[in-house]
Structures are given as structure tokens and as C-alpha cells.
């Protein structure tokens, strides 16, 4: 196993010549109060791109999106269209073209489906265009069309996720960020949602920044992939490289993909993640040293047996 913190060496796919990235993060740090979650993230999304950020629970994926959307404060640079954005509000970021489908969907549960969509469009001026957009989303998601007058809180999880995507898109953002839209949904619905996202990207040129735990479907439509591990980018590269590199897959993705377009052996069984790592950062001890520890949990295939590998490290200040 590679030592903690070292990034696997993957050639970084170059950006298009002379293109200003739509979104660029430089040395981004963010957290909640005293708990530091992101330790210096460098990331970029070009217009028309689909970028996927993978990572386990606790890696900081949601924090990353919330920091970009200006829901939480950050240190470091967030640049939209090459210009650094000072600390602003979420509605401000939306005006710059960055929209977020939050974790948990963020449904306005007491409003109707139609009102949810109307709220999504508050930043737009033309009422007629908004109405046309609403109709178009009813066609893309017929379930929403059927329930346009229904209270949004009574919709199923999948329908609420559709509503969340539609609501975010009502503002016509240039970059749509999605926080774990596959969570808790049936595979069929997830496939449908990702199909809609791919269509969105291809037809209207909306860039996508997707954060996912479940890699398979996301990787299908991704152009570039970042791997977030305990608050830092552990690896990044273009999606094809990620998909085909066995070592990467085994080390980070934890399972082997089926399919004939991947060379090499592959197992038929579906194996859980090899291991997950928990990073505990304790305050200083009596001597003033800050202590941190990594707890590695190794999962054996078949039975869920957890073997605790315990390592403790002392950091000099």
C-alpha cells in the first residue's frame, strides 16, 4: 500500500490550448470552525467539460462543493472565468454561472413542484422564457410533469432528485455542480439521471462538476477525474486513463469494472473497497506536539471482517 498522502503518478491531461477554465481552484482550504477539511485543493473545470470528483466518506467532497458555492468560507482562490471571486453569497455565485444541486436535494418541501421550478428561475428576467423552460423540463422528466401541482415534500427520492436538477438548471448555469445525486436511489433512476446530465452537457454545453462515491456511472460520462482523499487531491487525470489503469482501479476504486473494452484480467465478483482510511487529528499533547493518526480498516472479500491497522504519527510543529 502506498504511504499515506503520496499521489499516484498519473499524467495530467492538458487543458485545451489557450482556454480559460470556467472554474479554477487554487490552494483551496475550507472547513467547519476549528476542523480543517480541505488542505489545499487545485482543481479546474473547462467550459463543456465533465469533471468527476471521487472520494470516500469524509474525504471532503461535499465541503468542496459548498466552498465553491460560497455556502462556507474558504481560504485560497476560487476563480470563475479566470477572475478571482471574493467571498460572496450563493446567489452571487449563481449569477456568475455556477449552480449547485446540494446533497440531500434541498427540496423546498412546502412548495409545489411548479413553484420549486419557479424559485429556481428567480434570477432570470423573462417570464415567457422561464415558462417555456418549465415546460421543457416537464418533458425531460415526465414524472415531474404529472405532479406539477403536488407538494414537493411528498415526492419520492428519485423525483426529488429530478426536481433538484431541474430547479438548479432553471437558472441556466454554465457550470452545474452535483453532490452525490446517486445517493440512495435505485440504479435505474440513477442511470436515467446520468443520461439526462450527459444530454445536458452535450446539447447545451453546460459544464458539469460531479461529486460521487459511486464511481461507475459517473466515470462513463466524465472527461476528467479527480480523486479526493482526506482533504487533498490524491490523483487526477483523464477519465479514460482512470478507467483503464488496473493499479489505480484496484488501489482507489476498489472494484473491477466489467466490460470488454478493458484489457487485462478482471474478476467476476464484485469486491468492496479494499480499505478505507480514517484520519484523526488530535490537539496538542502536554508537550505541545500535534498528534495525528491514521486508522486503516481493511475489508476482506466475502465476509465483512475489519482488521484494524493502527498507526500513530507524531508531527513536529
Amino acid at each position: 500500500m502506498s504511504t499515506p498522502g503520496s499521489a499516484a503518478q498519473i499524467p495530467l491531461a492538458p487543458n485545451g490550448p489557450g482556454q480559460v477554465p470556467l472554474l479554477e481552484l487554487r490552494a483551496l482550504r475550507a472547513g467547519y470552525g476549528a476542523a480543517n477539511v480541505l488542505h489545499g485543493i487545485d482543481l479546474s473545470v473547462d467550459p463543456d467539460e465533465v469533471v468527476v470528483v471521487l472520494g470516500a466518506n469524509g474525504a471532503g467532497k461535499t465541503t468542496l462543493l459548498r466552498a465553491i458555492a460560497s455556502l462556507i468560507p474558504h481560504i485560497g482562490d476560487i476563480c470563475v472565468d479566470g477572475q478571482v471571486v471574493a467571498r460572496s453569497r450563493p446567489d452571487d455565485m449563481l449569477r456568475r454561472g455556477v449552480g449547485l444541486v446540494p446533497q440531500g436535494r434541498g427540496t423546498l418541501s412546502e412548495l409545489s413542484v411548479r413553484d420549486n421550478l419557479r424559485v429556481g428561475a428567480v434570477s432570470r428576467a423573462s417570464g415567457r422564457e422561464v415558462a417555456a423552460d418549465i415546460e421543457r423540463w416537464y418533458e425531460v422528466f415526465p414524472q415531474l410533469g404529472k405532479r406539477r401541482g403536488q407538494t414537493a415534500g411528498t415526492l419520492s427520492g428519485g423525483e426529488q432528485q429530478m426536481l433538484a436538477i431541474a430547479r438548479a438548471m432553471m437558472a441556466r448555469p454554465r457550470l452545474l455542480m452535483c453532490d452525490e445525486i446517486s445517493m440512495g436511489l435505485a440504479p435505474l433512476i440513477v442511470t436515467e439521471l446520468f443520461g439526462v446530465l450527459r444530454q445536458l452537457n452535450k446539447e447545451s454545453g453546460t459544464a458539469l462538476l460531479l461529486v460521487e462515491q459511486n464511481a461507475e456511472l459517473a466515470l462513463d460520462i466524465a472527461s476528467r477525474v479527480y480523486l479526493l482523499e482526506v482533504g487533498s487531491i490524491a490523483a487526477s487525470g483523464d477519465a479514460a486513463t482512470f478507467r483503464s489503469n488496473d493499479a489505480i482501479r484496484r488501489a482507489y476504486l476498489g472494484y473491477l469494472l466489467r466490460g470488454t473494452d478493458h484489457g487485462g484480467d478482471f474478476s467476476r465478483s464484485f469486491v468492496l473497497r479494499d480499505y478505507i482510511r480514517i484520519h484523526l487529528c488530535a490537539r496538542r499533547d502536554g508537550a505541545g506536539h500535534r498528534l495525528s493518526q491514521f486508522l486503516d480498516y481493511k475489508l476482506c472479500p466475502g465476509r465483512v471482517r475489519v482488521v484494524l491497522l493502527f498507526r500513530r504519527m507524531v508531527a513536529e510543529h
Binding site: 470552525g33 468560507p73 490537539r283 498528534l291 504519527m313 508531527a315 510543529h317
Partner: protein, 399 residues
């Protein structure tokens, strides 16, 4: 692997983005602030004795006042007891009550009625008032099981509003809007107290002091117990408390009952002090708001806050009555309430405590290690050899 250290930054809403590199505590010889005192050490005992001496000194000083000032102090003490009661429901359990004037008045009228109509000895009425107010409090507190937050405040509002009206309704018993007059002869100090007729004021002052001390000891014991912990858990997050096993069904009404009982005791003292009870003057909704104001300014959830509250509630209107055509005390109270919420949510007492803790802190006593030599069983030696290397910082979760 090193964790990169960064500079901390404060954002506009006060949330700290990143913790800076932890600095070592400044130790300049032995004169580092805050001074720390361990519990059960000599210094701690000295501190406690000094505090008690100061308290006794203040009480004796009050005992030397002239009749009017001593009467004012007695009033302060009876309000302090009532606010202490309110503190239990609102400060420690989070159930805001804008109706505690009802229990204050219930205690007062219980004493009044028993003394005037049935010739009871004033002192003997206090336990009865306690029970009556407890029962009333439990009844008013029952809706708290289903109703929460601001909606619960409406229930207490009902109590506070209904009380004066009930008094008027049963005018035959209570004297209605004419009021209930307790003659001085009925308030004669008992022989065993050492006071004679003509010394009612002094007798009442010392009675109030003793009752306040008893109330404070009771409150202290409740708060320090597991029950107190449950109360505060309910205040901070009721659902989590309930999920952790706190029996909300029992706790809320009983706590409200206890709170009302104590407020009722304050009312008894008030009745004896004033000698004349007119519900429309002394036990209205305005009184309830006054009690709440006193509690918030003095310090919710603190032990000495109610005393400060009592002082504020009695003396501020008295000393500002000539300013602003009599309305300045209202403005002061209103502004004080707002300032307290912003600057010192735990009231004046909390603010004082915070300032004091910059200079002096009492830390828990050193736990006594047990010596391995004292135990000789093989089990212990096995345990000792298998234990991971002792590190006090393991398992400490980051704040």
C-alpha cells in the same frame, strides 16, 4: 507526514476558517494568567471560606439597614426566590414562561387566604403554598409534552393572564379587586424567633434570607444531579435528549411544578411583606414579563443570576423613577434585554463569571492513580501487559 499549518482567518460571521498553528501557552514563571486552583486543594478551601465570609458579611450588613431599606431588600429577596423558580423552568430546561406571575400570585394568595380567613400562622402556610403551586405548575406544564417552543409560551401566557381574572372571579374568597388585607397582628413574628411585635420587618428579612439560602441549596443540588443534566439536555436538544433516554413525559411537567413551587414560596414572602394583595397590581402579565426580564438580565442558567435579577428588578425602577417621566426604567430594561442577548447570553452573572475566569479558574482535582502493587491478581497483570502504550491524547476528538 506533516499536517500543513496555515494562518487562521476570521470571517465576518465569526466562524474561524482554519485553526492556526497551536501556540504554546505563555508561561512567565508562576505569574501566568489565569491562575488555576485545583479542587480540594488548600487554595480552593480558602477560596470557598472567603466566599462564604463575604456572603455572611453582606447578609449582616443588610440586617443593619433601616426599616425602609431592609424592606426593599426583603422585596429583592422574595423576587430573587421567584426568579430562581423561573430559572429552573426557563434557564435550565429551556421552557420559556411568560406566566410565572400566576404562581407567584398563587403562593401569595394561598398565604393570604389561610392567614386572613382561617387564622393560620403565616409561616405554616408556606408548605401548603409549596404544594398548591407544585400542583398548579404540573397542570400548566402538562401541555409541554405536545407543544414546544413559542407555542408553549402561549400556554404559560394563558396562566399569567387567567390568574388575575380568576382572582377577580372568586372575589368572595380573595377580596377581588378590593384586595386582600393581612393585618399586622396576624403577621406577628413567632416567639421562638427572638423577635417581638414591632420587629416584623427584621423578622421578615431574616426569614427571607434563610428561605433564599434553602432555595439556592436546593437548586444547586438539582442542577448538579443527573436530573439537572437531563434538564439541560432537554434545553439544548430535546429530541436528542429523548433519544438518549431522558423521560420527557415525566421531566417536563415535574420540572415545571418544581419551578412553580419555588416561585410560590417567593409569593408567600411577598404577601407577608406587603400585607395587602391586589391581583391587578402585583400579579399581572407585566409582573410575569418583569420576572422574565430579571432572569435574563441576571443570568439564565446560573445559580446567582436570580439574585442579581431581583436586585435589578427592584432597584432600577426605584432609582430611575424621576428620569424620563417614569418611563426610563422600561427603556433601560428593554435595551438591557437586547444587549444581554447579544453580548452575554448568560446575563450579568455569566459575564462576570467569564471575566473572572480570565483571572482565576478552578480545575478538577488530580485523579489518584491506583498503584499496581496493591493488586496482585493475574488478571490485572495480564491487562497491564496487553494495554497499548499510555497516551492521554488518543481518542480525544477534535473540537
Amino acid at each position: 507526514m506533516t499536517i500543513p499549518s496555515v494562518n487562521g482567518e476570521e470571517t465576518e460571521d465569526g466562524a474561524s476558517v482554519v485553526v492556526g498553528q497551536p501556540t504554546r501557552a505563555t508561561r512567565i514563571g508562576m505569574s501566568a494568567l489565569p491562575y488555576t486552583i485545583r479542587r480540594k486543594s488548600v487554595a480552593h478551601v480558602v477560596l470557598i471560606v472567603a466566599g462564604l465570609a463575604a456572603g455572611v458579611g453582606l447578609i449582616l450588613w443588610g440586617g443593619s439597614f433601616g426599616q425602609f431599606n431592609q424592606g426593599q431588600l426583603t422585596l429583592v429577596l422574595s423576587y430573587a426566590i421567584a426568579i430562581s423558580g423561573l430559572n429552573i423552568a426557563t434557564g435550565y430546561t429551556g421552557m420559556i414562561s411568560v406566566g410565572h406571575s400566576a404562581f407567584f400570585g398563587l403562593g401569595a394568595y394561598t398565604t393570604g387566604i389561610l392567614v386572613v380567613n382561617y387564622g393560620w400562622n403565616a409561616l405554616a402556610t408556606i408548605p401548603i403554598a409549596l404544594l398548591v403551586c407544585f400542583a398548579a405548575g404540573v397542570i400548566v406544564g402538562l401541555p409541554a409534552l405536545k407543544i414546544r417552543g413559542l407555542y408553549l409560551a402561549v400556554v404559560t401566557l394563558a396562566a399569567g393572564v387567567t390568574f388575575p381574572e380568576l382572582v377577580d372571579r372568586f372575589a368572595g374568597l380573595t377580596g377581588g379587586s378590593q384586595g386582600l388585607l393581612i393585618s399586622l397582628t396576624q403577621l406577628k413574628p413567632p416567639d421562638w424567633s427572638g423577635f417581638t411585635i414591632g420587629q416584623e420587618g427584621e423578622w421578615l428579612y431574616w426569614l427571607s434570607v434563610v428561605l433564599l439560602i434553602i432555595v439556592m441549596v436546593i437548586v444547586h443540588n438539582i442542577v448538579q444531579s443527573r436530573y439537572g443534566l437531563a434538564m439541560m439536555a432537554v434545553r439544548d436538544n430535546e429530541l436528542a435528549a429523548s433519544a438518549s433516554g431522558v423521560n420527557i413525559t415525566v421531566l417536563k411537567p415535574i420540572t415545571f411544578g418544581v419551578s412553580s413551587a419555588i416561585a410560590g414560596v417567593g409569593g408567600c414572602l411577598f404577601a407577608i411583606y406587603l400585607g395587602s394583595l391586589v391581583a391587578d397590581d402585583s400579579f399581572t402579565l407585566l409582573t410575569a414579563v418583569t420576572l422574565l426580564t430579571g432572569l435574563v438580565i441576571g443570568g439564565q442558567g446560573t445559580r446567582f443570576g436570580p439574585i442579581i435579577g431581583g436586585l435589578v428588578v427592584v432597584y432600577v425602577p426605584y432609582y430611575t423613577s424621576s428620569i424620563g417621566q417614569g418611563e426610563s426604567s422600561a427603556v433601560l430594561f428593554g435595551v438591557a434585554l437586547i444587549l444581554v442577548i447579544f453580548l452575554a447570553p448568560e446575563g450579568l452573572m455569566g459575564g462576570i463569571a467569564r471575566l473572572a475566569s480570565k483571572a482565576l479558574v478552578v480545575i478538577p482535582a488530580t485523579p489518584q492513580p491506583f498503584s499496581p502493587a496493591a493488586r496482585s491478581s493475574s488478571v490485572d497483570s495480564t491487562l497491564a501487559s496487553n494495554a497499548p502504550p499510555h497516551d492521554p491524547s488518543i481518542g480525544t476528538a477534535p473540537d
